[in-house]
Every structure is written in structure tokens, then in C-alpha cells.
Subunit: 337 residues, 2 copies
């Protein structure tokens, strides 16, 4: 079907051999090449539109220039922002990203990892699927560089891991509500079974010690967030604030207030962990705890890149700091400030 120009074609055109062409095009040192010949080679490559074949050069031990990324949910902006950050790090060095959605299905994840190994990717950035950590064993076995993001790799240790400060996020959110005088709170969370993620609730409760906290667990979707929030608010009308531990659930959950005719920041206070870009508005913003998704992606990609280049990477574990962003969705009802 498609016909690509090879080194041989370029060599013929320039009246030399493929070896010389390779040296010129890769700008290798340790070999003398006359200005005249170099120019002829460059011109020939340009005229013929030569495009190097990564697959062939990787056979000789060169980088494949491919990075694999595994995320559990394509439509979750937390993960897409990580991908965007990784892309920025790698694209400038000529690497392409293969981004795969495991849909949190370990079987699927297993197949994906196998395919990526088949592609001989140079490295992997992985958010393990629920119950799927074991799938990454083969990655370690073949000695491929890998950086884990967000969730931990259960049953392994000594791996590189970049996460949000989950406990800190919960704590910051809880403390903010406490400071604004709220003492009766609803916490909407996700019973993922991953203790690292569930530590958001621990942080939240630690910050609001002495308060009434009604915890509800929703599924990992806007729809479930809506339904659960509806139930929670109806069962606990005394609560003055609702806190969402997960962005996706908040996205659905906030519509409950609209449907019930409750004014956010007035009749009910609301805040959440994550970045509510789904709610852009001129002057009526949600208080939220920013997890630093972009920075997480940047750091994970940076570590992976260093590993690929053979650089020493000192710390195995990186915890991204979080930031509380105050908005107008939390009302001060007699708190400290």
C-alpha cells in the first residue's frame, strides 16, 4: 500500500552509502564527513521527503519513542489533564503517547499491557485498575520503566509513585467548612476499597472533629452522585453543608440543589475535591480543593523520562500538595473568620 523512502533511496540519490546517510541524518560524531557530502545527503533526504522508521531503528537498541499510559476512565478530566501534562513533557522529545482506557476492568487492562509490550514502548505511566495491580508484574519482569499515578500498586513495593495528597485534600476541605461555622455536614464519597483514596474521608473527619458528619457513598458517576446527594439531603435537612470527595459525583450532585430550589452559598454550602470546570460562571464559583492534577502528570512524566534516560531518581514516592480555592459556594454561618 504505502511506500516510504528508505536510507537506501537517499544514499543512491546522494551517491553514497546508507551508513554515511545514517551518520549524517543522526548527526553522529566520531566520523569524518566532508561538508560537500553532508550537504548532498541533507538535500537528498529533503527532496525525497525521507522519514525515519522508528521500528527499524529501535531494533538496533534505539528508543522506540513510544510511551504507554493507562488510565481507568477516559472521560474523567483528572486523568486527561495528567495525559496532557505527560504529552507536554514527551512530545518535545519526539515521543508519542499511547493512552489506553482500562475502564477499571482488570481483564481489559491485562490485554492492554500485553499490547503495549508488543509495541516495545519505552516506558509506562499507570493508574492501576481496581483489583488489577497484579497485571503489572510482567512489566517489572521485563524490566520496563514504570511510574504509578494516583492509586497504589497493591502487593508491590519499591515502585515509583506520584499521588495527590488525598488525606490533605479531605482535611483542607473539612477545615474550611469548620472555620465557616458549619457543624452538621454531609460527606459524599466513594467506597472504592482503595484505602489511599478513602483517606480523603479520614482527613475530612479529622478536620471536623466534634461535628456531625453524615457519610454517603455514591458510585463513580455523575448520575450516582445526583441520586445519592438527593437521598442524603432529604434524609438530613439539618445539614448546612455538603462536601463532595470526588469531582465526578459533584458534577451530578450539584444539580440536586437546583432541582430542590436551594441556592448554593445561601441556603446550602457546597464544596468539593477536584476542579469544577464544568461549572464556569462569572462570579459564583465553587469552593474546591485543587489536587494538582496537571502537576501530578508533569512530575510522573518527568520521573519516567529521567528513568528512560538512565538518570538517577532519588525519591520513589512523590505526594503533590493540594490547594484550597475559596469560592462563593460556602456561606459563613458564624465561624472564626
Amino acid at each position: 500500500m504505502s511506500r516510504f523512502v528508505t536510507l537506501k533511496d537517499v544514499a543512491e540519490r546522494a551517491g553514497t552509502t546508507i551508513g554515511t546517510v545514517s551518520y549524517v541524518l543522526n548527526d553522529r560524531k566520531g566520523r569524518y564527513i566532508s561538508q560537500e557530502l553532508r550537504a548532498k545527503v541533507l538535500a537528498a533526504a529533503e527532496e525525497l521527503n525521507y522519514i525515519k522508521c522508528n521500528g527499524a531503528s529501535s531494533l538496533k537498541g534505539m528508543d522506540r519513542r513510544l510511551i504507554g499510559i493507562l488510565i481507568p476512565q477516559y472521560e474523567n478530566q483528572f486523568f486527561t489533564r495528567i495525559c496532557v501534562a505527560a504529552e507536554e513533557v514527551f512530545a518535545s522529545h519526539g515521543y508519542d503517547l499511547i493512552i489506553c482506557d482500562t475502564f477499571d476492568n482488570p481483564e481489559r487492562e491485562k490485554g492492554i499491557i500485553h499490547r503495549l509490550l508488543s509495541q516495545r514502548v519505552d516506558g509506562l505511566i499507570v493508574t492501576p485498575s481496581l483489583k488489577g495491580s497484579e497485571n503489572t508484574r510482567i512489566v517489572r519482569d521485563v524490566g520496563l520503566n514504570m511510574v504509578v499515578v494516583d492509586r497504589p500498586l497493591e502487593g508491590f513495593d519499591g515502585y515509583y509513585w506520584v499521588t495527590a495528597d488525598n488525606y490533605g485534600c479531605g482535611y483542607a476541605g473539612g477545615m474550611d467548612l469548620y472555620r465557616h461555622g458549619h457543624r452538621s455536614l454531609i460527606y459524599i464519597g466513594w467506597a472504592s476499597g482503595i484505602s489511599e483514596l478513602e483517606s480523603r474521608e479520614r482527613g475530612f473527619r479529622d478536620a471536623c472533629s466534634g461535628c456531625e458528619v453524615f457519610t454517603y457513598n455514591a458510585g463513580f458517576s455523575a448520575k450516582s452522585g445526583y441520586e445519592t446527594t438527593m437521598r442524603a439531603v432529604k434524609e438530613h435537612p439539618e445539614a448546612t453543608a455538603v462536601f463532595f470527595g470526588f469531582n465526578v459525583q459533584a458534577q451530578g450532585g450539584v444539580n440536586v440543589f437546583r432541582d430542590l430550589g436551594l441556592r448554593i452559598g445561601e441556603d446550602i454550602s457546597v464544596s468539593l475535591i477536584g476542579s469544577p470546570e464544568w461549572s464556569y460562571t462569572g462570579n459564583n464559583d465553587f469552593t474546591h480543593v485543587h489536587m494538582g492534577d496537571y502537576e501530578i502528570g508533569k512530575k510522573a512524566a518527568g520521573i519516567l523520562f529521567d528513568l528512560i534516560r538512565g538518570k538517577e531518581v532519588p525519591s520513589k514516592r512523590v505526594i503533590q500538595e493540594c490547594t484550597l480555592i475559596g469560592g462563593t459556594s460556602v456561606k459563613n454561618i458564624g465561624g472564626i473568620e
Copy 2:
């Protein structure tokens, strides 16, 4: 760094030669292999965890098992759904997807295409960046299969192209508002300079002939959608309905009504083109024109797959039908039904 098992390793273990191993593992016909030897090879491959190297086999003319996808905006769900659909088509055949965000920047796009050609992808699904059509010339020159999605490839013809029915989407949305009795309307659109996309407005206007239509153009973001809508609503309080030509703009724009205290479906009617999954709610849904994003992705990927397999693809141009999904955001103010 990483060490992979090769055919040679498997052959040694099974006490045979690499040629035979290749035949067994690929299940090729046209060659006799005893059950005994076949079993031994299979066992050896299993024990050693052999993983084929796509790069090497593609040198011999096999498929690279890589597909490139170019989209202009990673965070736009219209495009991510297309990617998800394409993934479903290709993953089952062992292909990986390299999804690249051009950010609508032609320079960037040029680099991306060059990188993908370097990877020797088997085919390309492309939404050309604004003003970037010329970048795809090289794809045609090397004879690589390509399917264009959404926007046209300006200055080319004879290419495969799958789009939404942009005119029809606008028409359906306009007709729905007209039927509900609305005669004074705001249309929020995007002056992209791409006539195919701007035909949404033509369709809208054609459906509402005889009505007053106030057109405002916003940038391609939620923020710009918010600001433009705010201006439009303030300048034309007499309008009974607002129609958004683009999902992203609607996502920001609808918050205007909340901020102004206008009840959607009561004080103001609202509908849009796209899928407002950002607004999940139990019983208060937006009327919208569904473009069939998923189907577009499915069809584009299907065509590309057929092309790769050398199948004849009859029609160069596919237009996806749209569907009007009635919600509760449009009030009947004395229309026909």
C-alpha cells in the same frame, strides 16, 4: 535496560528453529507441523513469556498495529467519544491508538503527523486543525490510509470524510423552538471560518424563517460561552429562547441563567447542539440535538479498518444523522404542539 524474550530464545528452549516457532505462534498454514512439536513450542513460549515485537514484524510488511488519531481539543467530549468508539473498533483486532491533540495549531499538527509517520502507523483518523489542511498532503503522498472526521479538508478532494449533519442539527433545533411558539431567539455560535460548521446557523435560520434571530459569536470555550451569553441576554431581554450551536459554549452559557435567577424551561427556554452530560439531573433535562458522536467515530474507524484490510469502500462521504432529544428546558408558549 529491558530484556525481551525473542523467537530465538523460544526456539532454543523448544529444540527447534526460529522459522518453525514463527509459523506455530502465528498459526500460519501452508506448512506441516507435528502436534508434538507444536505443543513444545507453545509451552516454551508460554514459559518464557514471549511477547512478539511488532516493530520487527512490521519490517517484513506486517501491520504495525498502530493507528494515529488527530483531534483539535482533548477536553472536548465530542472528540473523546469519537476516540472511544475508534478504540472499540481497533482494540479488538490488536491495534493501539495514538491520540494526539493538535490544540488547533497547524505547526503542532505538522510535527505530530511527522512523528506518526515515523511510527509507521497503519492509518490515520484526522480532524484537521484550523488552517492546517495542507499538513495532510504528505499523508496522501506516501499513500497512507486516512479518514477525515468532522471538519473538511480544504483544498483536497476524493478523501474519506465522516461528519455530523451540521445543517440538519441547526435545522432540527430551530424547528423545535419554532414549533413551541418561540419567535424571538438568540443563537450563540462560533465564527470558525469553516463553512461546514457554520452551516449550523444556516440550518437554524432556515427553520425559523420569519423569526427574529440575534446571532452572537463566542470563542470555543465555556468561559467565552458564559460571557457572550450574558451579553446577549442583557441586550435582548425580549428573546424567549437561547440556542447554543456548540456544546462547550452551552456548558458555560447555561450558568448565566442561574446567575440571573432565570428558571430554565420557565422564564427562558434553552436548547443546544451536542450532548450535555455536564448537566445530569433527575428530571430537568436539556433539550438538545444529538450529533451521533459515537456513531461518527464508529463509522470513521470502520472505514479506516476496511481500507487497511484492502476492502473496497464505496462511499467517500458519510453524513451522520442527528436526533432531537426533547427535554424540559423548552417551554411551549403557544406553538403548534
